[in-house]
């Protein structure tokens, strides 16, 4: 064996050991060969880690500010491929974290401060759940580019994945939460060391400390090796590259969370009610083209921070009549739901819309029903201005109208 080959072999072995660390806590025995070595494939070989067809070109695009948008119009089913998950940053790039060096510290108002390696966390009982993450500023000026036309450009800051990890409540029970502890501060290991405060009630309910996404470790842009998931809440809570959780007795008022924790008239800090119910037809949608009259399946996504989507209605006549769409079963709570509706296009100009209802009975409103909001407000992001919101409920869940012209072009009819 020449030295080049032996170098490559060593590289593969190290790579495989790393992969073992990242995926599971139980490492392969020393000297054990893996399939990848037998075949002699490098980890970047498409046969070792598969790629899509060169004819499939759907990609994320850049939004109005820092952030990458999911191509919702190309999606099928409810899962967003990890590589197409939207991404928001505060301007700092994803850190390049060696999982062997990464730690999670839990401290503050606890009986037993604890520090975990990734391997130790993966020894704990795990859960796997399908959740959407939606940016609190989705469907508004913080997402849209000028003259936004497509579902991606308008609503591309929502994605849905299968997440695996340990419940935060389990970690807190291991650490022993003390009396008087009512809030937590989570912090990331990125350059800007993103922090978020949140209530103990949510932490003990369903917050997930995730290391897995869609059957493999998180992608670096999604927080590798560890991130938080807040089912139903704005994506901004979901601290990536999670390295620390401090148990405290009040919100810590980091720069970006000041407006969120404005107390009500009785001095109580509101508990986020989650993202408002929203749906969007993804096919046909803005920027697409219908080749001619005839049968089309209208298909789209609906989701709500209130839990499960109970109903989606579709209008194919500009909102005069609405009919129930079929929901893809099972419908998961706090996840994208796929809806489908059979439609025969007669070739005339019309407007397609969808509206959803969640398990709370909340119905997605029209832009007019949202009240006092103009399309220009939407385009310029005024009504969903992040800092103006007293809690996390998104006010940007207007019904999205798509106009179909006689030529078959589909256009954004919002403005």
């Amino acid at each position: 064996m020449n030295s080049k080959q032996s170098d490559r072999r060593r590289f593969l072995k190290e790579g495989a050991a790393l992969a073992g660390l990242a995926v599971g806590a139980v490492r392969a025995a020393r000297g054990q060969t893996t399939g990848i070595e037998t075949l002699g494939l490098r980890p970047d070989d498409y046969r070792a880690y598969g790629m899509r067809s060169r004819f499939v070109t759907s990609v994320r695009t850049v939004g109005s500010r820092t952030g990458l948008l999911t191509p919702l119009q190309d999606s099928v089913g409810i899962i967003t491929p990890s590589a197409l998950h939207f991404e928001n940053t505060r301007g700092y790039p994803p850190p390049d974290i060696d999982p062997r060096q990464h730690r999670l510290l839990i401290h503050g108002l606890v009986d037993r401060p604890l520090i975990f390696t990734l391997e130790e966390l993966q020894c704990l009982p795990s859960v796997t759940r399908i959740y959407f993450i939606e940016c609190g500023g989705n469907s508004g000026g913080r997402t849209m580019t000028k003259n936004a036309e497509t579902a991606q450009q308008i609503h591309g800051k929502t994605s849905c994945s299968e997440w695996t990890g340990a419940l935060l409540s389990l970690l807190l029970q291991e650490a022993g939460v003390q009396k008087g502890a009512s809030w937590l501060v989570a912090e990331g290991a990125d350059l800007g060391k993103r922090t978020e405060s949140f209530q103990m009630e949510k932490a003990m309910d369903d917050v997930l400390v995730a290391y897995g996404q869609n059957g493999e470790p998180l992608r670096p842009q999604q927080g590798y090796p560890l991130r938080l998931l807040f089912p139903g809440w704005s994506g901004s809570f979901c601290v990536k590259w999670l390295r620390r959780i401090k148990v405290v007795d009040q919100p810590y008022l980091a720069k970006w969370e000041i407006g969120r924790f404005k107390p009500d008239s009785e001095g109580r800090i509101p508990f986020p009610t989650g993202q408002a119910p929203k749906s969007v037809i993804t096919r046909p949608s803005g920027g697409q083209r219908l080749p001619g009259p005839g049968f089309y399946e209208i298909s789209g996504l609906a989701w709500s921070g209130g839990g499960a989507i109970r109903r989606v209605e579709v209008s194919t006549d500009g909102g005069r009549t609405w009919k129930d769409a079929q929901l893809q079963e099972p419908v998961f709570r706090f996840a994208h739901a796929r809806f489908r509706y059979a439609w025969n296009w007669n070739g005339e100009e019309t407007v397609l819309q969808s509206r959803c209802t969640d398990e709370r009975g909340q119905v997605q409103p029209t832009l007019a029903e949202l009240g006092g909001i103009s399309a220009l407000d939407v385009a310029e992001g005024r009504f969903i201005d992040y800092w103006q919101k007293s809690n996390d409920e998104s006010g940007s869940n207007y019904i999205q109208p798509w106009k179909v012209t006689r030529e078959g072009s589909v256009r954004n009819a919002l403005f």
Partner: protein, 177 residues
């Protein structure tokens, strides 16, 4: 041992015994989030006068010489434009009384309900090219400078772990949105 004690002890016992106890030094090194009462603030101090020099050197090229107006093209100075266009900084100074208008200006002076937020953010994330490179004294001095620019403290007021949490911010109690 009486049964009641046993039950109480059980509830406080970890089930899985994973993870280890961190050292005091490990906790200290990471315990950087500053709450409104300033418990985590480290020793050190600074004044606006000292802060002015650091601001001119480290901050002014993006935030403008006074913090009240952002220079054009500042967004392009942001070093981490990896997922889109640069982010234009928002003004740090001014904007009082604008929160309930159509064009709210959310600055330190108009919006921040507590002064600890300023210290926390400078210490955690600034300057963007090298967060963590400023000493505690420098962060206190910069915080003092920004409070002074917003007419909240005097130029000679010393900011430290004791005085900073006591600063009365114009938006304490969240009068504005």
């Amino acid at each position: 041992m009486v049964l009641g004690t046993c039950v109480a002890a059980l509830a406080q016992t970890p089930t899985y015994n994973r993870g280890r106890t961190p050292s005091a030094e490990e906790v200290r090194a990471w315990d950087i989030a500053i709450g409104p009462d300033g418990k985590e603030l480290p020793p050190g101090s600074g004044t606006a006068k000292e802060g002015a020099k650091i601001y001119a050197r480290e901050c002014a090229h993006c935030h403008g010489p006074t913090g009240a107006a952002v220079p054009s093209g500042a967004a392009n100075l942001w070093p981490h434009t990896y997922s889109g266009q640069g982010r234009s900084p928002t003004p740090l100074v001014g904007g009082r009384g604008t929160l309930d208008t159509d064009r709210p200006m959310r600055t330190i002076g108009s919006f921040y309900p507590v002064a600890t937020t300023i210290w926390d953010y400078i210490n955690r994330a600034k300057p963007p090219k090298e967060p963590g490179s400023l000493s505690a004294d420098q962060v206190y001095a910069l915080t003092a400078f920004l409070l002074y620019q917003n007419n909240i403290i005097q130029e000679s007021d010393v900011m430290d772990a004791k005085s900073l949490p006591k600063v009365q911010m114009p938006n304490r109690g969240y009068g504005g949105k």
